[in-house]
């Protein structure tokens, strides 16, 4: 049985649930809508299953406005990029549209060879009481493929809450339903790595060098079958995100798979992640990992040297959510940069503790800052750079502050040792551009 909303909000492994202000709860009326809804969160987790079809049972806007907005890459199948929606009209809403949904599922099965079909309910279809679970069940029996209901209508909660709901769907309907073709002693699953800009591939390449096989990524560049057979892995590694902790804990309870929480962002973090994973997988891997770390670091340090000279002492405001904050602080300090203010909006007490260990005493911790506040701070603190998510890109640029995007729209992969070089190059390219003085100067006639 799927966990109820109350159960998810009490997820024992989630530290947020011990606090008053929970990340999984909705924003206030009058807010600026920077946070997505539960439907958004569910899509973030499930759409990177690239050989599946994702059918959104809704009027046009739900998926029309969100289609193609995330840079989760695929190494092969492309079906996940196709946008399927029942595109409800007023009549469909008045008279009900379960029949339309059923026909839509059949149309997809007949024309697109999906490995599975995920069917998403949304606010409107939940409100008019469409029984998508029953429709999916009937369709599954008739068509002989997995047709999976995802009941995460937007108003159910925040984006994070939607992540959790999607995690429940995977636990309930997908994970453990297929036996893998092959297994090794060194199989691990990555959880919460969506392969934005190809970041997963950097990690997989690195782990492969150490003899570790990523058997499934839940979910990034993922085949349905991979996820379905991920229950035989030796270890689950949550990458830089606690949103899917229910999957990690669920798989521990159900299949006895231990889990770790690691980050592949920055040199120190990547090395630590490798060590911790190796510790769980046995001595052979540990020896290889020790060599690998030394080798990779030696190469990288040489490549990074010129950038480090130029980036040293750059003053940064970091404004991003949750776990990402400490892992990026660590990466920035690897380059000798200085974080002068840091957002803690989605961070747990544990995250904040880790952040404080990495930061100087003067660093400001920002709870929840609007764009106005960020710009004011940047001026007061004489920041050289803002590192933040896409929602703050124009906040920074219009204030004429150099900006680096580290969220879903980023263009380059920054994970692992090789990603660190991209990270340094991108930072330096923006900071070194003469554009900053050009846009600040007065015109000659003034």
């Amino acid at each position: 049985m799927l966990a109820t909303k109350a159960e998810i909000l009490q997820e024992t492994a989630c530290e947020f649930n011990k606090r008053k202000a929970r990340v999984c709860q909705n924003v206030e009326p009058g807010g600026s809508g920077v946070g997505g809804c539960a439907f958004d969160g569910a899509q973030i987790v499930l759409v990177p299953i690239t050989d599946a079809a994702h059918l959104v049972h809704a009027p046009s806007a739900c998926v029309g406005n969100s289609w193609n907005t995330r840079g989760s890459l695929s190494s092969g199948p492309f079906l996940y990029k196709r946008c399927f929606t029942t595109d409800l009209s007023e009549n469909d809403i008045v008279f009900g549209s379960e029949k339309k949904l059923k026909k839509s599922i059949e149309h997809i099965a007949a024309n697109y060879q999906p490995s599975a079909i995920f069917v998403y309910s949304t606010c409107v279809t939940a409100l008019i009481g469409e029984d998508i679970t029953q429709v999916c069940k009937t369709a599954r029996e008739k068509l002989g493929i997995a047709v999976i209901p995802v009941e995460a209508p937007g108003f159910a909660g925040s984006k994070n809450f939607g992540n959790r709901l999607a995690g429940e769907v995977l636990l309930e309907h997908v994970i453990g339903t297929v036996d893998p073709d092959t297994t090794t002693e060194y199989d691990i699953n990555l959880i919460g790595e969506y392969n934005i800009a190809g970041e997963l591939w950097n990690i997989v390449r690195l782990l492969k060098k150490a003899g570790i096989r990523v058997s499934a990524t839940i979910t990034g560049d993922a085949a349905y079958k991979e996820i379905a057979s991920s229950h035989t892995a030796k270890l689950n590694v949550m990458v830089c995100s606690r949103a899917l902790i229910n999957i990690a804990r669920g798989m521990q309870d159900k299949y006895n798979i231990p889990f770790l929480e690691e980050s592949f962002f920055g040199i120190k973090n990547t090395s630590q992640a490798l060590k911790n994973i190796a510790d769980k997988l046995g001595k052979d891997i540990s020896i290889r990992v020790t060599q690998l770390i030394k080798q990779e670091k030696d190469i990288l340090e040489k490549q990074l040297a010129p950038y480090k000279t130029r980036l040293k002492g750059i003053r940064v405001i970091l404004y991003t959510g949750g776990v990402k904050s400490w892992s990026i602080i660590s990466a920035l300090s690897d380059l000798g940069m200085e974080v002068i203010a840091c957002g803690t909006r989605k961070s747990t007490p544990d995250d904040i503790k880790r952040m404080k260990e990495l930061l100087g005493k003067e660093t400001l911790l920002l709870k929840d800052s609007g764009p106005q506040m960020l710009v004011k701070l940047a001026e007061e603190l004489k920041a050289d750079l803002m590192v933040a998510g896409g929602r703050n890109q124009y906040t920074a640029l219009k204030a004429k502050i150099p900006y680096l995007d580290i969220n879903q729209e980023r263009e380059y992969p920054y994970t692992s040792y090789e990603g660190m070089l991209n990270f340094a190059k991108t930072l330096e390219a923006s900071l070194a551009s003469p554009v900053w003085e050009k846009i600040k100067g007065a015109p000659p006639w003034l």
Partner: protein, 442 residues
Amino acid sequence: MVITTNKKPLAVNPLKNSQPLGAAIAFLGIDKAVPMLHGCQGCTAFAKSLLERHFREPVYLKTTAITEVEAIMGGGESITKGINKVLDQTHPDLIGLITTGLTGVKGDEFHGVLANFRQISSAFKDMLIVPVSAPDYAGCLQEGYALAVSSLVAELVSRTPDRDHKQITLLPGSFLKPADIWELKETALAFGLKTLVLPDISGSLDGHLAEEQVFIAQGGIKLTDIPKTARSAAVLSFGESMRNAGLLMREKTGISHRHFDSLFGLFGYDLYLSVLSEISAQPIPDKYRRERKQLQDAMLDCHFYISKRKFALALEPDLLWNFHKLLSEIGGDISLMLSPLETDLLKSSSELKVLIGDLDDLESMEKTGAELVISNSNAVYAAERLNIPLMRAGFPITDRLGVNQRTSVGYRGSMNTLFEISNYFLSNHHARSRNDENSLCH
């Protein structure tokens, strides 16, 4: 016109954009206005993100963030709370309150809630809140935009004895980009006519680096100027979807109304200039006489590449009509017109075939033999599969820079568009001489 609708039970790669998006764009063309979407937080987050990706500008939207319980019981309280918070934080001149599919379903009585709110919160009695019902299960972007403009006219414009014969009111449709509106304003100015543009995204979403940063729609028509639109010598509406707003303006103010379905191509701008000349009693300025000759010359140069070529157009109705006019003027063969919505104008012409459908239908159109697709960025997959180039137009355009800064209207705009189209075939010509078939694409 022969109109057919695809037979699928669902939309695959939809061409349609939703009404609330259009309504939000309209409010963003008013200085210090805040569009607030009455729905779940995600409705706003998605819309904001998409608008920012298209315009490459900061877009400030607010949400009423209704919850599951409110969705069932009615969302009046969240509107009240939301408005109070917005007033408190951003001090806007106007709030555009837009329904989404979610609240449309509930039939939340917008006006009732607002009247109630105005009573309770006497401090904000004079605060302007313009409600628009633009649910996403009906219409498309251009319709939502037009509904918002009609609401603005209904709420803010009334008859006045004052007349300014040197001023005209423009009601541009959503198919016009910021640069297009600039062109319309500049042209009017050349006849000595001031313009009031409702709404005016050329002031707010044109991409300019201001000295000071504000966190609200900046630029666009000023709230205090909106009632002054009633003093104009005439009101001009552009795009079929804006005809009703124009008619409403005429009905409410008594000023004369001229409507333009098309601004693209020679004929489209001839008509605009003639009307401006008539209103201002001024001759056509030399600049435009010259530009007209330039366009004619360009049409000659371009007809080699465009005449009898086959085009597939997949756009919202107003823009679809404009491209149809432009291409038809030099003999382009429009083998497919794909629209998300049927309109009277599309039905009016007997020789055209229009398909109401999605971008998936575009992919199955191999038999039409189209050599260039004109559509939004989402058509890139269809174009790739068809192995023909895509010229980006419409909304959203997320994979090209400078789109909103480029004029498509006016003689110059049409000239540049024709050159751009021809160049797709010209480079193809070059590729063929190198026997390199792959470079046909992009």
